[in-house]
Subunit: 131 residues, 2 copies
DNA sequence: TTATTTGCAAATAATTTGCTCTCGT
DNA sequence: ACGAGAGCAAATTATTTGCAAATAA
């Protein structure tokens, strides 16, 4: 398979986007990043934001997150971790496992399949949305 | 909050869609369901499929699934369960936990937050894609 | 100077919606 | 009869892409 490698030049836009993403725990969308980044780079286009988020993901500096929402969210926290998602306001909070999940307690993993990573989604109400 | 209730009439289209979904473990997309259902209901439109999948979800008969893909997938298996997702071919397999996950091993759940449900995503290669 | 990146605008693709008509009760 | 559901096409929305000009190496 042609895992065509690729060369990455420096780009100010990309670093601004990355810095913003690394500086928040809010798991923002491309649109939010665009809005923020424009305070520094008023010409920055949304297309460029998307392109750079893709590149950052290829570089392993950023993770794309999906959950029942319409927009992809991004995360610069690359330590393995999981998420608590508030079903009230949609906010995502990082959750860390103190020990690995016991894979032996899982049934139904297809024969011969190799699990490479896992992501736990916890749904509920955050304190602001419930108490 | 206005959880506006709603009345549901019987609809042949809806039941065909549900039956197809309940009859497969493949976690199909709206498009696949549309294609299949049209063998029985040649006039069925894709919009109707989407509308009915939404209603079925409201009724708690169907679950919407998202994972890094572009298309939403649907699942009529409503027992709590989790998923193994092949990063090669994108197939999803149901995974059942033999015991509940030990929530006490999780760190970082925001104070005062109430976890209501969880979904574990396991990523890896299925036997066809790796061996 | 050569490949990469940008900004802009136009193109995609999945999903939703408006409208009129038909069906379920 | 009356509201719920269908079909169709047009509209939305997030994301991607083509292209000419700008930038990095």
């Amino acid at each position: 398979m042609a895992t065509t490698t690729r060369k990455y030049n420096y780009s100010r836009q990309r670093e601004v986007i990355y810095r913003l993403l690394a500086g928040t725990t809010a798991h923002p969308t491309a649109e939010w990043l665009h809005l923020q980044a424009r305070r520094e780079l008023p010409q920055l286009s949304l297309g460029t934001v998307y392109r750079n988020l893709q590149i950052l993901a290829e570089q392993g500096r950023v993770r794309e997150l999906q959950f029942g929402a319409d927009q992809t969210r991004y995360d610069a926290m690359m330590e393995p971790h999981h998420h608590f998602i508030c079903t009230g306001c949609g906010s995502m909070t990082d959750v860390f496992l103190q020990r690995d999940l016991p894979l032996d307690r899982l049934g139904g993993i297809p024969d011969g399949a190799a699990v490479e990573s896992m992501h736990l989604e916890l749904f509920g109400k955050c304190s602001a949305c419930f108490g």
